[in-house]
Symmetry: C2
Subunit: 390 residues, 2 copies
């Protein structure tokens, strides 16, 4: 196999963006070697100072813009609008692609920009499908998960801290760019592609069966704390005060848990007593409280290291809970032992563990993890390269 | 623009999968017109009966397999292995693509299958990068979010109910297929593509700045309940017992909130008193408790309908919290008023609101939402079509 070039070398995307989803889409393409040029206003956009910070600089911005080129152009002026338009529409087989989550109307609409390059591909991310403002946190509130998440006895909604809908939308935006570029390669035409956070969230709720459940069942599921709905899985405490997540999703995993803990006879006794078949997920779920009561003391009597050793020997599906600090301190997966990571120097922030793409392509050269640019770092370079002098 | 055919018409993917990520990747491609053929053992794989159920049938399986063809083949026999291999390697420009999250070794390894079709594309999803078993819930425990999620005074980890890492991995798997297919179109060669849930989760934590924060800051963030870290956003209660999520991420949104509620003068007074500039997210975060105290009574005195009316008039960034039942009952976005949805008949489950792709391509025909097949529905058809009679 030829592994000379990165997989997406030759693809050029102009990203006019802020916050998470669109920048993540761009970063996903950049991590495979695409030339992603992010355009911001001088001084930065509305996300330039977003928390978390280090020495007053945004770690968020640095994380979401890894591997891109940064250009600042003032699009309040017509001259600036012309520059950005020409950059977007610049020639080249892999160019003519723009990704944005900012309002598109007038000069930066698909109709106007495609006059400069008829095969333009434009991917627009909105909050709501109709263009209305919505963000991860409002979409999550609307779609039902905060009433299903969190401690069973808690009486309010529980938000995700992870902007999961932004993440999914960002990856789908990257997918959409490749899908549209494939169409252009086959049929020679560009197109406008639209997606919204709200539609992504509702589609996901549909795929998980939650919408069907709410329609078809008079009493859809409630909130079950850390119990994994419909199967066996929950957190347990160890003697040394750590928590572990333990699951048995398959018959094999269920057997492993009994073998690892020596609790197989107790599980069998309970099975006979309640007339159940614990090889079935539904039966493990129905009798979970009694199963928890058997497993709890076994874990509570042991230290994390001992629990982990026995569980790993027997192929139990489990993990310790870790803080992010513990992840980077204790877990070799989050270290340079994992080729996805490198220690990378960032000009403002110093040196820290930085990820590349989680995708590994056998026939393409991996792209080493790269830092984000500083704001406007490539303005002059890009102006020259694309002949954009005002 | 030619909008005659669905965007991915002509692409054929054989999916040998279970659970969420791989089936979601397949469903994402099927929703744009790809021919996705899911292969299961007779009687179904380990996810055939996963909850939620309706009339004893899995709504989960139905949601994750929308728009696919279903084939059952017993791969414990060599004859079955040969059939699946031939199906995967069947000729056709858009064929020769397999997506799986099941163990690949021996007959179904990339090395063996690519003997039958040298330009084979194979995307393999694992839990851990090294092939070790991990699922959404163990990955989430390891990567730190359960200690950041949930009520501030709660003393244990809080799991996501949404399998967010599965979702992101599924969409990235679909992206990976198009990226590899692009490479094959350009260079004529196939390849093995690998990704793991754990790497996807750690890459996302990196993009959000969490890994850098844990490395660079002696005291990274803790748990802040429903407060959106580093800005202004939280849930509030209305007079009629509903909850609303209210945010101000931008200076404009902050002004809107003050104007909508008439609290601008109070916000200004506080600004002078504490010497802050509430146009800055960091300042809104630092003084959030006092800001909450101003906003809480304004919302608590009003009913949801009145809060919503005023907020919408002023462009406040907000949403009511809804259960999934409320979403489908009250929110027009989750109805056939949204072209992403249709009422679709499923042979076993009846008629219910079903989603198509959240992606809208201007130059391609949309694919109407389709039900999942019944298990094995297309076995004979596919056997005939690909000449797989034993």
């Amino acid at each position: 196999m030829s592994v000379g070039a990165p997989l997406l070398a030759g693809l050029r995307i102009v990203e006019v963006s802020a916050f998470v989803a669109a920048p993540l889409g761009g970063a996903t393409l950049a991590a495979l070697g695409a030339d992603v040029i992010r355009v911001d206003p001088p001084g930065g956009g509305i996300d330039i100072d977003r928390w978390p910070l280090h020495r007053g600089r945004s770690l968020y911005w640095a994380g979401l813009n890894q591997g891109k080129r940064s250009v600042t152009i003032d699009t309040r002026s017509e001259a600036g609008q012309r520059q950005v338009s020409r950059l977007i529409a610049a020639p080249g087989e892999g160019g003519g692609i723009v990704l944005t989550n900012l309002p598109v109307r007038g000069w930066n609409s698909y109709a106007e920009l495609s006059k400069l390059r008829p095969d333009l591909i434009m991917v627009v991310i909105t909050g709501d499908r109709d263009g209305g403002t919505a963000v991860d946190y409002t979409v999550n509130a609307a779609v039902g998960f905060p009433w299903l998440t969190g401690p069973e006895d808690h009486d309010g909604p529980v938000n995700h801290v992870l902007p999961a809908w932004d993440g999914m939308t960002g990856f789908l935006a990257a997918f959409a760019i490749l899908a549209a570029e494939r169409h252009r390669r086959l049929h020679g035409e560009g197109q406008l592609v639209e997606l919204s956070l709200a539609d992504v969230a509702m589609a996901m709720a549909g795929h998980l069966g939650l919408i069907a459940e709410a329609i078809l069942e008079p009493e859809p599921r409630g909130r079950f704390g850390n119990d994994v709905y419909g199967t066996f899985g929950r957190d347990f405490g160890t003697r040394d005060g750590r928590r572990v997540m333990v699951l048995a999703l398959t018959p094999r995993q269920w057997l492993s848990l009994g073998e690892a803990t020596g609790l197989s006879p107790d599980f069998s006794d309970l099975e006979s007593h309640v007339v159940a078949d614990f090889r079935k997920e539904g039966d493990r779920w129905a009798h979970r409280q009694q199963l928890y009561e058997l497993l709890e003391p076994w874990i509570a009597e042991r230290e994390l290291a001992d629990v982990g050793k026995v569980f790993d020997q027997h192929g139990v599906l489990w993990s310790p809970y870790q803080t992010v600090k513990q992840l980077i301190a204790d877990d070799p997966r989050a270290s340079t032992a994992n080729p996805m990571f490198s220690d990378v120097d960032h000009p403002d922030l110093g040196r820290f563990l930085t990820t590349g793409s989680p995708l590994r392509f056998g026939a393409a050269a991996p792209v080493p993890p790269r830092p984000a640019p500083t704001l406007g770092e490539h303005t002059e370079e890009v102006m020259r390269e694309f002949g954009l002098e005002p």
